[in-house]
């Protein structure tokens, strides 16, 4: 599974430019689903048809993981060929300074800053710029609207893995692996790889309207409280996939929450409960689609979210796959 994770995290796919990620997932899902389509906004929807099972009521279940990652877009090219930029999603100046970004065609950019008024002053984004090493404006190939993402390879640290864009390629990898391991299911399952989560859960909103599920599970990352002097939070790396109770945007359906917890206990899988004070996931948009959908989230504990080096625990990832396979194999009566 590490191979899938490496391939997906290293792919280029800022919100609105998910093409490369989508094509890699499309290839990997081929043969693992009965039907694959892309909706008008660019969400990839892979459908796996139910195989009726005695005593189990078939449900329409949507699984969602987002393909997009945060990034930057060029907003102005100055006279000397330096590039001013705006953020795509929650890019923080703190994570940009000193890092490199890469454009879709492989062009590398360095993040520079204006001279600060005070020595240790931290710059806002409008005081920063990208330098692609062009000797003058004539030799510059970049233009307003070009998009770049963090440049950072995947690294296997053994038990722990680090990469850019675990948010939410790790969710995508988990969905692909679940489709691989799930031989049959009594439910109609839609594996939805969404677009534009980082700019406002946009793909989830439209795909949920199209899929019209009864039950939905988003798979995404959550922050942890297990690093030095972290914000008090009970989630830690390696303690199992986190079952969301609440985040900044939604309250998980209590029935979905219990369904996940009961299944994890039945299968003897480690798990933890999550209350995230800020941020949210695709499940927020899905929950209020049409007349309401029973929605919950399986979160992968992840340190340093929205930096070039996010970190997850490999057991948590594999246990999330096992939990999903378990959930999709039995009854889903919420």
């Amino acid at each position: 599974m590490k191979e899938i994770i490496k391939e997906l995290t290293e792919a280029f796919g800022a919100s609105g430019s998910e093409h490369g990620v989508r094509e890699r997932i499309r290839q990997r899902m081929a043969g693992r689903a009965d039907e694959i389509r892309v909706d008008p906004l660019g969400n990839l929807i892979a459908f796996k048809k139910r195989k009726p099972k005695k005593g189990v009521q078939a449900r329409r279940i949507m699984l969602a993981a987002h393909m997009d990652e945060i990034g930057v877009m060029i907003s102005h090219v100055d006279e000397k060929g330096f590039l001013r930029f705006t953020r795509i999603g929650g890019v923080r100046p703190l994570s940009l300074l000193g890092s490199r970004v890469v454009f879709a065609d492989g062009t590398i950019g360095i993040i520079g800053r204006e001279k600060p008024e005070k020595r240790d002053e931290f710059p806002s984004l409008d005081k920063m710029f990208i330098d692609v090493g062009a000797v003058d404006k004539e030799h510059l190939t970049r233009k307003v609207g070009d998009v770049a993402v963090f440049m950072r390879p995947f690294s296997d640290l053994g038990q722990r893995l680090t990469a850019k864009a675990f948010d939410d390629r790790i969710g995508c990898a988990i969905l692909v692996q679940t489709a691989e391991e799930l031989e049959t299911t009594p439910h109609d399952v839609y594996f939805v790889f969404t677009v534009q989560e980082e700019v406002g859960l946009r793909g989830a909103l439209t795909s949920a309207f199209g899929v019209e599920p009864e039950v939905a599970i988003a798979v995404d990352v959550t922050t942890t409280g297990d690093t030095p002097e972290a914000h008090p939070m009970a989630v830690s790396l390696g303690a199992g996939p986190a079952i969301k109770v609440k985040d900044g945007g939604m309250l998980a359906h209590p029935g979905v929450k219990s369904w996940m917890a009961d299944t994890a206990e039945r299968l003897g899988l480690p798990h933890q409960f999550e209350v995230l004070e800020g941020g949210t996931t695709d499940a927020m948009a899905i929950q209020t689609s049409r007349a309401g959908i029973a929605a919950g989230v399986i979160s992968i504990p992840c340190r340093y979210v929205h930096t070039p080096s996010e970190m997850v625990d490999y057991d948590d990832v594999q246990n999330a796959v096992k939990l999903l396979v378990g959930l999709l194999s039995g009854p889903a009566d919420i």
């Binding site: 008008p40 060029i74 700019v199 795909s207 309207f209």
Partner: protein, 351 residues
């Protein structure tokens, strides 16, 4: 000029009636059907001619063009015992632009002025401070609450009292209020004079300035395959010390949105707009990414999603009583949209 009438009409978000009537009169003979929905959107259908040279499948496409009728303004929320009126902004108004402006209140256009304490009576420090809206009031000349009640009702809307005018020059500039988005309305009306192969839904929306409310329900009702939003947008091309983006430049041609806070424009639609402009020698520019939001924010998320783009007429001093735009830009926007719509069937909407 229709733009003059559009600009001078009152239509604060939630009370767009006068603008709607004006537009209805202008378009009713140009469209096959029209209706007003329950929020107040004017929805007109111009049926496609579906000529043989177009592919049958693409001529059946529904294309939605939207421009919003509403403008930012004020709402009267309290009548003071002394006869002055307290108000709150409707939509995003910079309080610094309000001082010493003339306003027109309610359907009877009662004149009033937003008063300000003379600078002579201020402490030096106070001269540098921005006065918040909740400390301002409108003087309509009345001296008691009872007298004020005869002219104004609680909840009445007020707009800037601003006349449209021509400034001239090479750019053929004009000034007036509410170019956001009466400029877009003017472009859309102009586009209805032509015929198209596909079914064109022209929507003059309400309540954009308070949260893209009209566009949302109109898009749900129409369920279009593609949408273009026509806007009047920010232009910040006054001289600055720093080499930073002017957002758009007056006279630089129609401004195409790549990404703003509400939408990432569909790249395929951006491509055909750019390609059409270049083929036909129509000037164009990209609006500075990352700023503002438009009806496209609501439309592209309707139902299963709608590929959407935004094309705008640059306007200086937007959201003020004295916006400035170039008629060249406005005409080029019509031209670009017209040429683009004529070949919209070339866009492959499959990913």
């Amino acid at each position: 000029m229709l733009l003059r009438e559009l600009s001078e009409a009152s239509g604060v978000s939630g009370h767009e009636d006068a603008v709607r009537q004006l537009i209805l009169d202008a378009i009713k003979d140009l469209v096959d059907e029209h209706r007003v929905d329950t929020l107040g959107n004017l929805i007109a259908l111009k049926k496609g001619t579906g000529q043989a040279r177009r592919k049958a499948s693409s001529s059946r496409r529904k294309v939605m063009l939207a421009a919003h009728m509403d403008e930012i303004g004020l709402m009267i929320v309290h009548l003071e015992k002394e006869g002055s009126l307290r108000f709150r902004p409707v939509g995003g108004i910079d309080p610094r632009v309000l001082l010493a402006k003339k306003v027109l209140i309610g359907d009877d256009s009662v004149p009033g002025v937003i008063g300000v304490k003379p600078i002579h009576l201020l402490e030096p420090k106070a001269r540098e401070q921005v006065i918040p809206v909740n400390e301002m009031s409108i003087d309509i000349g009345t001296s008691s609450k009872e007298e004020a009640e005869r002219l104004v009702r609680l909840g009445d809307y007020a707009v800037f009292d601003a006349t449209f005018g021509e400034l001239g020059g090479e750019l053929r500039t004009v000034k007036g209020k509410a170019f956001d988005d009466r400029a877009g309305c003017a472009v859309l009306i102009e586009l209805l004079r032509d015929t198209y192969a596909f079914d064109l839904y022209a929507v003059f929306t309400v309540q954009e300035e308070v949260g893209l409310r009209g566009a949302r329900v109109a898009a749900h009702a129409i369920a279009p395959d593609v949408a273009f939003v026509l806007e009047g947008t920010v232009c910040d091309d006054i001289p600055k010390k720093r080499d930073i983006s002017p957002t758009t430049t007056l006279g630089g041609g129609p401004a195409i949105t790549l990404m703003d806070r509400s939408v990432i424009a569909d790249r395929r639609l951006v491509e055909i707009l750019v390609n059409t402009a270049e083929k036909n020698d129509i000037p164009y520019q990209f609006k500075q990414p990352g700023l503002g939001g438009t009806d496209a924010g609501a439309i592209h998320l309707s139902r299963e999603g709608v590929p959407s783009a935004v094309v705008s007429v640059p306007s200086r001093n937007i959201h003020s009583p004295a916006c400035v735009l170039s008629l060249n830009d406005l005409e080029n926007t019509v031209h670009l949209m017209h040429k683009t719509l004529a070949r919209i069937h070339e866009v492959d909407l499959n990913w």
